[in-house]
């Protein structure tokens, strides 16, 4: 997580296309935050579930770094470098912050039976985990149980955990939901830092201000299909987008 590797940024193109019948296709790059917005029920979380392997796709194509990930299972996709957070946070409640991150860190060991018999609380691992915890601003809460953390910190924990997977692509599902203004701003800063390291980010958000701020490119979904793609200004003035949101209200 230390250097920006320029050649990596250019080469890590993630081509993601959902089933043709639903009509969602787009590409996303490393080092960019791609916003995914749309009215409720548009299928944004479903999209994440398809990408991360929670739902098996029925058709279409999803490829990552040039290889198809369509048939892979969730844990295999995580190990390949696509990490996600959940809309309703799911930390491991009865484990402390450090251990939470350790679980994700362990992805290096789980595939091999022999290696997974080794002890997990070792100094080198703990050091790397501490770096992540520090970056998420949670160092003071390292030994606190996840269930006792306030929501804002739980969200940061989700991101720290996801980062422990050494992802090339990070899927964030409504990270600012339920947060106060300052908390959301801090979280956004963290996301910017993640992007600056060359990691690609797909960001689902309802908070328009956040989206317009963070994203140079936005994809708009409605009823399971992509209805627009472009810069924040283009999206803001797109009549289809406006209708999708307003139309839902009436």
């Amino acid at each position: 997580m230390r250097l920006n590797d320029p050649s990596r940024c250019q080469n890590s193109e993630q081509r993601i296309r959902r089933p043709a019948r639903d009509g969602v296709s787009f590409t996303s790059q490393g080092g960019e935050i791609l916003g995914i917005i749309g009215p409720n029920g548009a299928g944004k979380t479903t999209l994440f579930n398809l990408i991360s392997g929670v739902y098996p796709p029925s058709g279409g194509e999803i490829s990552f770094q040039g290889k198809s990930i369509l048939r892979l299972k969730a844990h295999q996709i995580s190990r390949l470098g696509i990490a996600r957070t959940f809309q309703i946070v799911r930390p491991f409640q009865n484990l402390d912050v450090e251990t939470n991150v350790l679980v994700a860190y362990g992805h290096r060991f789980y595939p091999s039976f022999w290696r997974s018999t080794g002890p997990f609380r070792q100094a080198p691992f703990l050091r790397e985990v501490q770096t992540l915890v520090h970056r998420a601003g949670l160092q003071a809460y390292t030994k606190h149980m996840a269930k006792n953390l306030p929501l804002g910190f739980k969200k940061r924990l989700e991101i720290a955990r996801a980062l422990a997977l050494r992802p090339r692509l990070l899927l964030l599902d409504e990270p600012s939901a339920g947060l106060r203004f300052e908390e959301a701003a801090q979280l956004m800063e963290l996301i910017r830092q993640v992007r600056d390291q060359g990691i690609g980010v797909l960001l689902i958000e309802h908070n328009m201000q956040v989206v317009m701020d963070l994203c140079k490119r936005i994809v708009v979904l409605d009823h399971g299909a992509k209805i627009a793609e472009g810069s924040p200004e283009e999206i803001r003035s797109n009549p289809l987008v406006i209708q999708a949101y307003l139309g839902k209200e009436t």
Binding site: A74, R84, F92, L95, V103, S116, T117
Partner: protein
């Protein structure tokens, strides 16, 4: 001289502690509901018994083999089991228990309702082991199992199990191959149960299918629940208390099963963590009395 009766109780508790410990791996560590654990106990007992009486294998070979066989069956049954969700798993494990017991009961190969007899204590140094020596053997094996448990608990396997227990979906998203680790828990749990079965067969000298039915699974579950699901010493506490209780007084022996039922019921209802669990009364009462003693000291 230690009375033979006392030693018998000790050995029984030792075997049950091993059994409860093995169930704890599946239910406590990995968080999987298993309501048919007695099936593996039975598979181990029958394997050891038949290898001994049928093929003439000595105890020292038949019992480890019993563990292996139980572990293999645990794997075979575990794989389809673990594709299914919580509730289906509970029913499936119950069903497995029933089917295994029925196989032992109906197939003449296994001796039918009369079971298998003539299984003796192990021989060593040219003579048969005495009961106290057998107990020491069981104790040694059990201590080894506890050490193993500790080692696994500190490993990535143990961490993976903890994450599965907490939130299976999230564990998957964090790179944990949930199915593989669940199967691992099943293998370990069933193998150790099979080991306990081997010890049981050679101690009781005869075994019957009825010993390995759903009722027995409930007894084992009670011990784990009572001591505290997931805690390392919990199963031992459960085995000791529930093992000693019926011996303490005749009336309790009579109503043993009723008491198990009520204990399960009451424990889960009021103290789901068990006696040694995180929110149990015991440590709280202990802490309070220590505090009170300290306060008294101060005011003096």
């Amino acid at each position: 001289m230690i009375s033979g009766y006392f030693i018998t109780i000790l050995i029984t508790i030792g075997i049950y502690a091993m059994l409860a410990h093995s169930l704890n791996i599946i239910t406590g560590h990995a968080g999987q509901i298993s309501l048919g654990h007695a099936a593996f106990f039975g598979i181990g007992a029958y394997t050891s018994a038949m290898l001994y009486t049928g093929a003439g294998f000595p105890f020292w070979i038949s019992v480890p083999l019993a563990a292996v066989v139980a572990g293999i069956v645990g794997t075979l049954l575990g794989i389809p089991c673990l594709r299914v969700r919580d509730d289906f798993l509970a029913i499936t494990t119950m069903g497995i228990n029933f089917v295994v017991e029925a196989i032992f009961l109906y197939l003449p190969f296994f001796g039918g309702a009369m079971g298998i007899g003539g299984i003796n204590l192990p021989k060593w140094f040219g003579r048969e082991m005495t009961k106290p020596e057998y107990f020491i053997l069981i104790l040694v094996v059990f201590v080894f199992l506890l050490l193993l448990d500790r080692r696994v608990g500190h490993s990535w396997i143990g961490l993976a199990w903890a994450s599965i227990r907490e939130d299976e979906e999230a564990a998957r998203a964090m790179g944990v191959d949930v199915v593989r680790f669940k199967v691992l828990a099943f293998i370990l749990g069933s193998a150790i149960a099979g080991l306990a079965g081997g010890f049981y067969a050679h101690f009781l000298t005869f075994i019957m299918p009825q010993n390995f039915g759903f009722g027995q699974s409930i007894v084992i579950l009670s011990m784990v629940v009572f001591g505290g699901i997931g805690s390392r010493w919990g199963p031992i506490v459960g085995a000791v208390i529930l093992g000693i209780l019926p011996e303490v007084s005749r009336p309790i022996m009579e109503y043993r099963i009723l008491i198990y039922g009520i204990l399960l019921l009451g424990m889960m209802r009021f103290q789901p963590g068990g006696l040694l669990g995180p929110e149990s009364i015991l440590p709280r009462v202990f802490r309070q009395s220590v505090r009170r003693a300290g306060a008294r000291g101060e005011t003096q």
